[in-house]
Symmetry: C2
Subunit: 344 residues, 2 copies
């Protein structure tokens, strides 16, 4: 199993990317890596080239570059060359911590969509807090598309199911539709149509509407939503978690308790809280619906997250997740075409 | 200034509602109350009838009643009679902690929309954490409409501005559009159109797109959004805040620090955190865009929240907020009609 890696993307590239790839190489004996980047920068960082091949890519797509234009013009960039390696079958998956828009664009334009899937969905794993039998859930689309049709959301349920089976090892993941109430008739016309379609599908375990209030409590294993609402919900969760952590820290410190306890005693508590909320432990965001895994981590990615993400890609490849999706959408081509007509 | 109160709505009605009205009466010498409820239940609770008139209402709309049907059929319910008092000019505002859907329906059908406003927006005040010069912001629509048009969101900016001026005492509130990025061209076609329209309006202080990640940091004083996204965002903030509080409490207690500190020392810290996040201190949710203030608090409302909410209504009445909105939409009738054509 071979992963094409953009060594130049992210705030700490190429150092931390290369370090992370070496950690992953040591952890997963069946993984090989094609490392795309500027040879003079990447070569000196490589300690041991076992199962790692350096692939020179002299251009770099910067964080601020306009995505579509950059992917079209910078043919020798690490992002374009790594994605092309997947397209041409030289690699099985594509990893980057670089320019999000460019990674998604390269995924769409170069790796390509699975036949029958109109809109790939960006998929994130988030923590479930204090529930004994569930530690995480996945949500899609969290922002690949600002303009989503009901048909796309129905497809997200199928895609999310395969993903949760591969990565979370849940045989029959509970699929929920993000809505403004749990009753079946909640939401606008589009959400009622999505709800009824999902409720009528035999091959998924649909648990109905879920509210964003209950996500961290584990209301579902897979939460499907349009990219606009998913993006707002994800960012509201992130922002509130950060703000609460700061607020509680500040209250303990300013309340005189900090002095009594000593910062050294509180530090491990806050580290554990941060770890519980840190979803980079689950790997990166995956653009589901492409012919091969395309995985993007945060710009601030360091070696440990690179390693975790390679573990996540390892699961996707070992379970042949993309092949399963391709087969599903081939086998259900007629059903999907009919759905697309009804759910415009 | 006279407020029509639904004494029967809420989990602790009528006891806590009556108690709260008496507190508010003592706190605001220029407020009078019409208290709608079942006489045999409300009468015995009233300690002092100064500026409080009991208005018998023998029917009750229950929490589980279907809103539109209940408002149409239960003509002698406290909700319908209180809203009717506002419509007929006997009272200046309507308060309830009862069935949300029924309160919104009574507001729309009985109190009535301001001429020129298509869709009233449910407006909530939320805390801003750890920012010296801003303690709260308001957001609308948080769920009155599941199906919002760009034109409605533009009107929310005007309505939110008047509200923030009256209740938050900010002369030129910063108005932000909730979007999936801060750049002007973010979002779908609808959001780009809303952005450009707001940016071109002289009579508001528009600060551009805001992301849900930055709301609790005080990115704006007034955040406008469609009712579906607003609802998902509000509930994500609520749910995450609750989950984080539980998580951190649990980590401190299980980490052995709880024992060392003693629960009695930590309790005030968590109380302060809960108070900071408790938006019932700012009063209830207001259905803005009606001819008079219609204010709804949570079902779990107790006397203190009733009192705070009467303070909020007091501000709205003292600044003649509804009249200002009515005047604005009368004066700008042509401009609004033109906007409605462009922003379908």
């Amino acid at each position: 199993m071979k992963i094409a890696v953009d060594a130049m993307g992210g705030d700490y590239a190429p150092d931390e990317i290369v370090k992370g790839v070496e950690l992953a190489r040591d952890a997963y004996p069946d993984l090989e890596f094609l490392l795309y980047g500027q040879a003079d920068k990447v070569q000196p960082l490589l300690q041991d080239t076992t199962r790692i091949t350096l692939k020179p890519a002299e251009e770099v797509i910067a964080m601020g570059d306009e995505p579509v234009r950059a992917v079209r013009r910078k043919k020798h960039s690490s992002i374009v060359l790594a994605a092309t390696a997947v397209k041409e079958g030289e690699a099985d998956a594509f990893f980057s911590a670089g320019n999000t828009g460019a990674v998604l664009t390269a995924g769409l334009l170069i790796v390509g969509r699975i036949k029958g899937i109109d809109r790939p969905g960006l998929t994130t794993t988030l923590p479930v807090l204090r529930k004994p039998d569930q530690s995480s859930f996945v949500m899609l689309d969290v922002g690949a598309n600002a303009d989503t049709k009901p048909f796309n959301v129905v497809q997200y349920a199928i895609m999310g199911q395969y993903y949760a089976q591969s990565v979370m090892h849940v045989a029959h993941p509970r699929i929920g539709l993000l809505n403004n109430g749990t009753e079946a008739d909640k939401g606008d016309k589009a959400h009622r149509a999505i709800h009824d379609t999902l409720a009528g599908m035999d091959d998924i375990h649909f648990v109905g509407n879920v509210e964003s209030r209950e996500l961290l409590n584990g209301a579902a294993d897979v939460v499907v939503t349009d990219g606009f609402t998913g993006n707002a919900t994800l960012k509201a969760i992130e922002g509130t978690a950060l703000s609460m952590l700061k607020l509680i820290k500040g209250e303990i410190m300013s309340g005189g308790l900090g002095g009594k306890l000593g910062a050294s005693m509180l530090r491990p508590v806050f580290h554990r809280v941060r770890d519980a909320m840190d979803y980079s432990q689950y790997g990166g965001a995956v653009l589901l619906g492409l012919k091969a895994p395309v995985v993007k981590t945060h710009g601030s990615t360091k070696a440990e997250t690179v390693k975790n993400t390679m573990g996540q890609i390892h699961e996707l490849l070992a379970t042949d997740s993309s092949r399963q999706m391709i087969n599903y959408f081939t086998d259900h081509a007629e059903q999907m075409a009919a759905l697309k007509e009804t759910l415009k």
